[in-house]
């Protein structure tokens, strides 16, 4: 499982994260909420392997996070992380292919349907609304059935129905044993975490 060992991060000598030790448990929902600029997104990027910690390590099953470890992680950040000049289906097929999902075409169609985007599957993503892009982003993160899901404001830009639908996917994912670590500003009522966390002076603190 994904673990942080003594992780610190500083930008231009300004410390943002300090000595974070944390291990995710399978099938657990984590909610991190903290003020703007407190380092939430930085922490997620480090956990995803997109950013290097200044000190400390990110581990997958006790070993430093490498491409094999990344196979088990799904990520939704503030951008949808897709290509605007590919269709929704082409984007999902691309990422399913990169994650080694068997029958990427079939998986892409299945997830388009689950995301309620089956009619927009052949439309270029640049023509999607914000809510459609967000649903596509969550589908992209889940298409390879990750063991850990890292989310930055996953319900942002969604209408009530979209929020309920995405919250439902997350619950279903958790029921299969996936650990979900979500950063949310607005502690949405659609999604109830098991553990609430915050960042105080760069340290990760369990609130409840």
């Amino acid at each position: 499982m994904l673990a942080l060992e003594g992780v610190s991060k500083a930008f231009d000598l300004r410390p943002v994260l300090e000595e974070i030790d944390f291990t995710l448990a399978p099938g657990c929902r984590y909610l991190l909420s903290a003020p703007n600029g407190s380092g939430k997104t930085t922490l997620l990027r480090i956990m995803a392997g997109l950013s290097r910690p200044t000190r400390g390590r990110v581990l997958w099953n006790g070993a430093p996070l490498d491409p094999r470890g990344r196979r088990h992680i799904g990520v939704v950040l503030q951008q949808p992380m897709v290509y605007g000049d590919l269709t929704g289906e082409e984007n999902l097929r691309l990422f399913a292919g990169l994650y080694g999902v068997r029958d990427a075409r079939q998986a892409a169609r299945r997830w388009l349907e689950r995301a309620g985007l089956e009619d927009a599957g052949r439309t270029l993503v640049r023509h999607y609304s914000k809510g459609m892009r967000q649903r596509l982003a969550v589908a992209r993160a889940l298409i390879h059935e990750p063991a850990v899901l890292l989310l930055d404001e996953p319900l942002d830009g969604l209408d009530l129905e979209g929020r309920r639908s995405v919250a439902g996917w997350l619950d279903e994912t958790v029921s299969r044993g996936t650990a979900v670590f979500a950063v949310m500003h607005d502690t949405a009522s659609e999604w109830r975490p098991d553990v609430r966390l915050t960042l105080r002076w760069g340290r990760l603190v369990v609130v409840a």
Partner: protein
Amino acid sequence: MTGWRAFLHLLWRDVRIEARRPQFFAASASFGVLLVFVTGIALDAAEHLPAEWVSGVLWLDIFYAATVGVHRHDFKDQEWGGGEGVLLAPVDRSMIFYARWVSVSLFIAASGLVMAAAWFLLLNPPPPAQPGLFAFALGAGALGLGGVATFVAALTAHTRLRDVLTPLLLFPLAIPLFIGVVRLTAYALEPTLGHPRVWVADVLGYIAAMLVVPWLVYEWVMEG
């Protein structure tokens, strides 16, 4: 996921996107042809120039135009964060570099052909006495330039001044390649200049360096 399959997926992505909206080709080819046109006017009756000079003009245009194209290409990665999505995938990140290298080289070669056609029309150089060597210079030049441009674009990806830094870093790093392809093109036009073996070795050595260096450092470069 084998590296080759990832490579093919990523190459398909670049070709598909460029085929749908040919921004790299359109930006670099139109900018390059314009540069050839302006240079042609500035030098007035370029037929009087020696082979080294006209070759230098062609490659200077290709280098500048390629920089414009690479910027357009990177923009597509950043626009919706697709480039970061690919970095998260469980593939060796050097494969991401190699796929991008090949696609950028293909697009540079395509726009280079258009620029070379404009160069023949507007600057009126002699027809290549060694067409094979001329084709080799264009192909190897596109490959070397594609490699160094992709690598420099990755190096500057996390900086705010990337629009300025990319050409500033690219041109000094590309000097050995630039000299080599200019000489090879000149030899192709004017075989009496001598034997081009040393310049073939120079260009091939440069491409070999592009094969090895990013493989060693690309993963480190791409993590912010």
